[in-house]
């Protein structure tokens, strides 16, 4: 019976570990194993992204060109077997949604660490920031910190619907969405806005905070900003009811 070579090396590693000491925690074991098999997953300096501090890449910049190519491929991928523009936007939205859910934790983690470092200098608030409870706090979180985390700048406008019938609608405007920089949709698909992906991210962030929402991206070009995009945030009825209760209770 032939033992596969990979299995054999794994066994020899674990044997070596037991020889050194059996009470090693399993995490250390697996780390050692990953260190001994350099490949695509382990860089040459043997530091995987899990070894780095989360704040390390805080101010790091990424190549815009590689993002553009990656996002272009994502759009091409989403375009396969779609029935129409709405279907394509739905797919892009679904690609962004899990990112929003995960990003929220990173955002909170980084904002707590900054506030604690600011705390040592200013010492105004003693508790770390809570997750937003009210709609306005949530929207400010998206408009400011989230946008800065994603694109390096705040969004351009935040508005509330003027009509009383659509009081659950809020608009976040980006004059020049980074994801659409190099994309020009063909003329027969001029309704398409690939920032539906960003809308998915917003939806994920809102859902992660416990606000049920539907977010969609719409083209609103102006003379000065040809790719101006409005993200329409529609909160669900339970959220609006809760909002009223919280308002009466005076919670901010």
């Amino acid at each position: 019976m032939a033992v596969p070579p990979r299995h054999a090396t794994m066994q020899s590693i674990s044997n070596g570990n037991t020889a050194q000491g059996n009470d090693r925690p399993p995490t250390q074991q697996s780390q050692q194993q990953s260190q001994q098999s350099p490949g695509l997953r382990v860089p040459s300096n043997r530091k995987t992204i899990y070894d780095r501090h989360l704040n390390r890449t805080r101010n790091a910049e990424l190549s815009r060109a590689s993002f553009a190519f990656l996002f272009g491929e994502m759009v091409t991928y989403a375009q396969r077997r779609v029935t129409g523009i709405q279907d394509l936007e739905k797919r892009l939205n679904e690609q962004g949604y899990p990112l929003g859910l995960r990003l929220l934790d990173l955002l909170f983690y980084r904002s707590t660490s900054t506030s604690s470092s600011a705390l040592s200098s200013s010492s105004t608030s003693s508790s770390p920031p809570n997750r937003p409870l009210r709609i306005i706090t949530l929207l400010h979180l998206i408009h400011g910190p989230l946008w800065r985390l994603l694109f390096g700048r705040a969004a351009d406008a935040l508005e509330h619907s003027v009509s009383a019938e659509t009081a659950n609608e809020y608009m976040i405007t980006d004059n020049d969405p980074m994801v659409n920089t190099y994309i020009s949709a063909p003329r027969d698909m001029n309704m398409l806005n690939c920032a539906a992906y960003v809308a998915g991210i917003i939806e994920g962030v809102c859902d992660g905070c416990g606000f049920e929402t539907k977010v969609s991206a719409h083209n609103q070009p102006t003379e000065l900003w040809p790719s101006r995009t409005v993200f329409l945030v529609r909160f669900g009825d339970p959220v609006m009811e809760r909002e009223k209760v919280l308002e009466r209770a005076g919670i901010k």
């Binding site: 060109a65 553009a68 190519f69 996002f71 272009g72 491929e73 759009v75 091409t76 375009q79 920089t181 190099y182 994309i183 020009s184 949709a185 063909p186 003329r187 698909m189 690939c194 040809p226 790719s227």
Partner: protein
Amino acid sequence: MSDNTRGVFSLIIINKAGGLIYQREFQAGLRKLSTNDYLVLAGTFHGVHAITRSITPKIPIAQPTPSPATGTTGPAAPGYSYPNPGVPVSGLDYLETDKFRLTCFQTLTGTKFLLFTDPLTGSVEGIIQKIYELYADYVMKNPFYQIEMPVRCEAFDRHLGAWLRGRT
């Protein structure tokens, strides 16, 4: 208003198979050709470019006096080389009349940019480099653009026009 774009008349982009994929004029009052004529122009230029590249004369090396008339024999061929062996043969680079100048820039992938300018316009190389940059950005990074097909990218048109207008 035409003063700002003075010097640059029009741009043609030819794909590596010799097909016309982009044509745009930057000045009013140019004589228009029909779409078919532009396609013929692109195809003809592609052919002429290939011919000029293949007729680039070689100079003899090693042998001191080979006669070109007997150069058809096989063994003489390795004795010839291009004047600058390190530099690839480029073919037709520009074509000048007293009214306009046509500059051809071929990318490493075989796409050709043809720029028609005023003969007095300086730094045409710089203009073509910028056009190539815009092409690489707004055409090649556009997921809706199909390689080798006609360029219909609104962002490319917009940025190209804006850049040429802003250039003094």
